[in-house]
Amino acid sequence: MDEIVKEFLVENYENLDRLDRDLVSLEKDPHSKDTLGSIFRTIHTLKGTSGFLGFGKLEAVAHVGENLLSKMRDGIFIINPEITSALLATVDAVRFMLSQIEASGDPGDRDYSSLIERLTFLNEGKTLPVEAAPVVQASAPEPLPITHAPETCSLPPTVAAQAEPVADAPEPVDLPPAAPSIAAAVPVPAVSTSAPVSGIPVPQTAPVVPDAATATETTEPRGSGVSDSTIRVDVGLLDKLMNLVGELVLARNQVLQFNGQYTDTAFLATSQRLNLITTELQGSVMKTRMQPIGNVWNKLPRVVRDLATACGKEVRIEMAGKETELDKTIIEAIKDPLTHIVRNSVDHGIEGAEVRVERGKSAEGCLLMRAYHEGGQVNIEISDDGGGIDSERVKQKAMQRGLITSEQAARMSDHEALHLIFLPGFSTAEKITNVSGRGVGMDVVKTNIEKIGGTVDLQSQPGVGTTLKIKIPLTLAIIPALVVTSGGDRFAIPQVSLLELVRLEAEQARKQIEFIHGAPVYRLRGQLLPLVYLNRELKLDDGRTTAVVDDAVNIVVVQADGHPFGLVVDEINDTEEIVVKPLGKQLKGVTSFAGATIMGDGRVALILDVLGIAQRANVVTEERNRTLSEASTHGRKATDSRQTLLLFDVGQGGRMAMPLSMVARLEEFSQSSVEHSGAQEVVRYRGQILPLIRVANYVNGGGHTVPEPDGPMQVVVYSEQGRSVGLVVSRISDIVQETITVKRHAQSNGIFGSVVIQDRVTDLIDVKAVIRSADPSFYPEKPAVPAAA
């Protein structure tokens, strides 16, 4: 294909996306001259270029659209829903023609006279009949049966083209009169999707020129007047760059291995430099592939608008965190799931205007999308203030469909019940609409998200609303991992699945590993942790059962699908950054491995797929967990009110606690490594200078110096915004999970109050206050606000 045509296509696909957004935005703000101007210019340019390239049909359609817009620009018409719909239909028609040009070189021979007629009608100021003229089909013609009961939301096919390759038979858009009748269908759990999503392989890259020559803008929001500080880069080239950096990381790892052997200072210095540069390069290249999630979200306003109109509801969409960046591959993977979830919310979650008003809500429903980085992952939340999901109804339907038994239903918590909607074959929609309800949607959403290593969580309050939380790792290519050895082979466990490490000495192991229904478990702080012996699971010892041996037992506590379990391995080695390489197709069926990597010494190690292992070992079934919860003497409490705390001793016998979430690391330093920077005690730590704060000096009145205990110093490292501080304590005691009820509120600086933990009075340390009194400059210009514990 001609270079010019390629460019034409790429540019105009982008333009069309912007048109969608602009049109929806104009509808909300009809007097915005800027938006109108932008829309006009886009169509005008499109018309011109298509004429120049000889695409007559395209030119004709664009021309009529331009006429209408011109009149609007002159103030003769003000935009209204009819005009908007017609213009959106024009955008779809153009998009379709562009795809035809991409495929075969010309806009195709579909007949657009009805669309042109419609636009001309509007141009002449006539209003269209309520039965709108058949709209343009936007994708492969495979008519789906659409139920016509007034309760259904028949979705105008135009939206379909936008979000998914849904094909709909051209039908008169039947705007249901019945907001109440839809609402009468009792708030239904957010469910499934239109069938096409399940079956048809999604040509996600439909708006993209083939050959993976997807042009990506490396940074910056689009819109008119974007500066020339951005450049278009071929995604294939970026992939190649990523690979090369991956190779460099491996080579760097190998070079660092030699650091131990050679003491030549020149070599050490050079390899250090190589290390620094590689790390920076890796970071920068990863950034090039990062795109703001707004790119995906930008399509949603239109989806919501069209769907809401079709359903006769009023819904607005709000987005927070548009600039949150994700790797491009992840964005591709979550596009469809996100769209699906949004459609569910509008279709099933949010009630019709009348019902909402009856319930004391505003007539317009609100869909809130939030995205933010946290803990090395990207969190995406989709909340609606609709009718919520009734867990009872979900259980009923699940039983009806034979997915669970009535006993299971009885024992299920509400939270678990909600998650039933993710089971394949589940749908509680009363009527199957062509939007959702075919029982194939939510499980596909969950699978797609899990495929990229993410998790999905659902929370809902009947009558109030529903929130879906998605967590995805930041990158797939280079990840931190824990290396373990078992059965003579080395394996890598991605850190994102890692919870903690437990080592049991032989004696403890014998006593503390219990057997429930024949399965080994370990009681970790009251919670029963199912154990999986890696050697046995992977048949590394040729089937020899690894019963508790005389040696110490190493348990790697990991979590799969939200369920923690312990992986017993022979040895725990080190944490490393590894480059993830995919396994060949011959190994795709082995679910226990997620990929392979090359270690520093050049040998290959397999990366464990924690979820795969858990499933193989049957550790994550609801059954198993329920059995465990019955056996556990503590029972299933709501875990929300329990906090994980680090207990430590300060000064003479003073016991204190702080939330474990505030602890970055626990370290030990010898007294001799303490140096002084001015009056501040510091220590060299991981290439940085770590200021030390002796907690005993700052709490409970402070000021009294404590006799130094002999031996190494115990330090709790606390980090915030890239800066770290070491809190020196006398002794690190334990980690517990407790529900906190403060017995006595703070009488002095540095503590929030006291609680009783393990029969001892324990002070809750106010970390930020302690830091501030020791080093006021740590928090520049921040008002003294008590930190949230």
Binding site: D489, K581, G584, L587, G589, I598, L606
Partner: protein, 153 residues
Amino acid sequence: MTDCKQFATFFLNGLFLGVEVLKVQEVIRYQEMTRVPIAPAMIRGLINLRGQIVTAIDLRRRLELPPRPEGQLPMNVVVRTDDGAVSLLVDEIGDVLEIPDDTYERTPETLTGVARELVRGVYKLKERLLLILDTERAVSLPAAFNRTAAKGN
């Protein structure tokens, strides 16, 4: 003068096999392999080939031939496939031969079983038969295995 094709040849349990030379990325001696637990038996392990991780397939296993005698180390014939490079473990490497097309024949009836599926055709050479291997099929799992694996897992 008839047309000729070039083949990289190798020996496997007395069989003389060949692959189009253009399909062969390289031929290297025995490499240390990392085994893959609970994988199909024909997969001997993974090799680090200049930074690329390459799956090594034991051709004897794949062709359901008896296992290699103790102490004999296989050689690697790294072939290009749709999915990337894959290494075939063979007994010994032969020469690259240029073979005239007119000696090509269909696989003889005497060749049965798995070998029949994996051999595309034969060339009748002066002293022996050269069996041409279908590399795509050779690196794919036998269909039967997939079924039983699905049940087992």
